[in-house]
């Protein structure tokens, strides 16, 4: 049997075995995290949004992500349900660099912001690898000065651990609304994200190694999901950080719904992956060819009107290729349109844009 054929068979078998484990793995992670943080939840009466059911949904949304970027983006989106503002910093060699923010008036400014980790809460969290809460005055002064102090003067910093190392930090505060910071809920979300990133990382490594799924639970992963992060000042593109391939995609993830249930075949997962990449490429090209229009559209909240022709031509191209494939349910074109062109703010597309 030719070597490449044998490799193909092994890859398919491994991928199928991994897929079978996905649903139960995800559920066990959810339960494990909830069990671990249960005591914290029972001590502090849950707010409306931090009920177990609400948290379970938030965790499920995070775990619907199949790439590093999707997972971290979901973490941020759900973090602001339990806080006023949130930011994620990637930690490398003891330095923390801004990745994305949510809830700030100038989210873009978070990118590549270098957090001072030499003292205060930052230093303590990095050293203890446990979440830290405290006064804004005990946090990086440069950050507080640039983004403003939260109304109640309290901040939280949570470490996102991968293989027992702090790979990222989640900053959260109540922003302009005192009392909205729910540290226990945030702890759940960050722990769930850590666990899910480990799962994805191990799955990817297992696939790469061709190891059967049974070994997945014990095999140490040499794959660092944050390895691809490259801040702007390094001269490397952010794009790289987005390119961690999906080990597999659940249909739930594709449709943006619950993470439980049906799992895609490896072939379908590959189609989803390609469709998403193609949608991303189409958006990149719209941005490249129309930089001024994109900037104006964002400013005036009418991106769709200004770029309607390019958007619709791109959509037609996308649908021609993926409209009749299993990836059609993923709606990746609109997802990327909102994520990439509108920077996750659908209102920037304008009133004439309909999903």
């Amino acid at each position: 049997m030719p070597e490449n054929r044998a490799e193909e068979i092994v890859r398919t078998a491994v991928a199928q075995a991994l897929e079978r484990q996905l649903a139960s793995f995800r559920e066990s992670v959810v339960q494990e995290v909830l069990r671990e943080v249960g005591p914290a939840l029972s001590v502090k009466p849950a707010q409306a949004g931090s009920s177990a059911a609400g948290l379970q949904k938030a965790v499920a949304r995070i775990q619907a992500g199949t790439t590093q970027k999707e997972i971290l983006r979901a973490l941020l989106d759900n973090t602001v349900l339990y806080s006023g503002r949130a930011a994620l910093f990637v930690v490398k060699n003891g330095t923390a660099t801004g990745w994305q923010g949510a809830g700030f008036s100038n989210n873009d400014a978070i990118r590549d912001f270098a957090l001072d980790m030499s003292s205060g809460i930052g230093a303590r969290v990095l050293q203890s690898r446990t979440a830290g809460n405290g006064a804004a005055s005990d946090f990086d002064h440069g950050f507080i000065s640039k983004f403003g102090s939260p109304a109640d003067g309290k901040v939280a910093l949570l470490p996102l651990l991968l293989k027992d190392k702090v790979s990222a930090l989640v900053y959260a505060d109540s922003g302009a609304h005192p009392g909205t910071l729910d540290a226990a809920a945030l702890d759940v979300l960050v722990r769930a994200t850590s666990a899910w990133l480990e799962v994805i990382s191990q799955r990817k490594q297992a696939q790469k190694d061709g190891t059967p799924d049974a070994e997945m639970h014990s095999a140490p992963s040499g794959n660092d999901p944050f390895a691809a992060h490259a801040p702007l000042h390094t001269g490397k593109a952010h794009h790289e950080a987005e390119s961690v391939p999906a080990a597999a995609m659940s249909a739930a993830a594709a449709s943006g719904g619950s993470s439980a249930g049906f799992v895609l075949s490896p072939e379908d997962a590959e189609v989803h992956h390609k469709a998403q990449r193609f949608a991303r490429l189409l958006m990149d090209e719209i941005k490249l060819y129309n930089q001024a229009k994109v900037a104006d559209g964002r400013k005036h909240k009418d991106i769709y009107d200004r770029l309607k022709e390019d958007i619709e031509k791109s959509r037609a191209t996308y649908l021609k290729r993926y409209g009749n494939t299993p990836a059609a349910i993923g709606n990746y074109f609109n997802q990327e349109l909102i994520r990439s062109l509108a920077e996750d703010d659908v209102s920037l597309l304008g009133k004439n844009f309909h999903q």
Binding site: A237, E240, F278, D310, K313, S314, T317
Partner: protein, 195 residues
Amino acid sequence: MSFINFAAREINCKIVYYGAGLGGKTTNLQYIYQKTAEQQKGKMISLATETERTLFFDFLPLDLGSVRGFKTRIHLYTVPGQVFYDASRKLILRGVDGIVFVADSQQERMDANAEALDNLMSNLKEHGYDFNKIPYVLQLNKRDLPNILPVDTLTKDLRRKDEPVLEAVAFQGQGVFETLKEIARQVLVELKKGS
């Protein structure tokens, strides 16, 4: 494929610069056009719309030699790079004698390079052309930028057969004529085979 103008005693060949949007195809052509003597070249014809920049011109290189007493006139074309102009790209490939794939060396354009390369293979197939028999050069452009991938990586990911790989900084002219000479050489070899 090439056609012969008996009256002018010229063999006309078509070379297409293919690649992802804003990768430097047009820049290659513009540089060649600027550096070619007036008496050797025809008009530069631009099929440019607001976003689509398709160029065409022909010229008669003096140093290419002749095939059985016929001079070789080369027609250079670019294709629109943006993904959704596929129909234009397919049309321009018709009758092609040689292809230069202009790859953007920036790492964030690797998906675009891969897409353009797949698109090239697909369009050649639709025309019934055998890629393995078509003269072909891979040009790695924008080598002056900071966020580029190493040549080895690009070559590994983008090379489709044993084609020559040339580095370029097209807007400075680096690698532009080297690429043209290589593709013209290959085309001429094919012509001589056929003669």
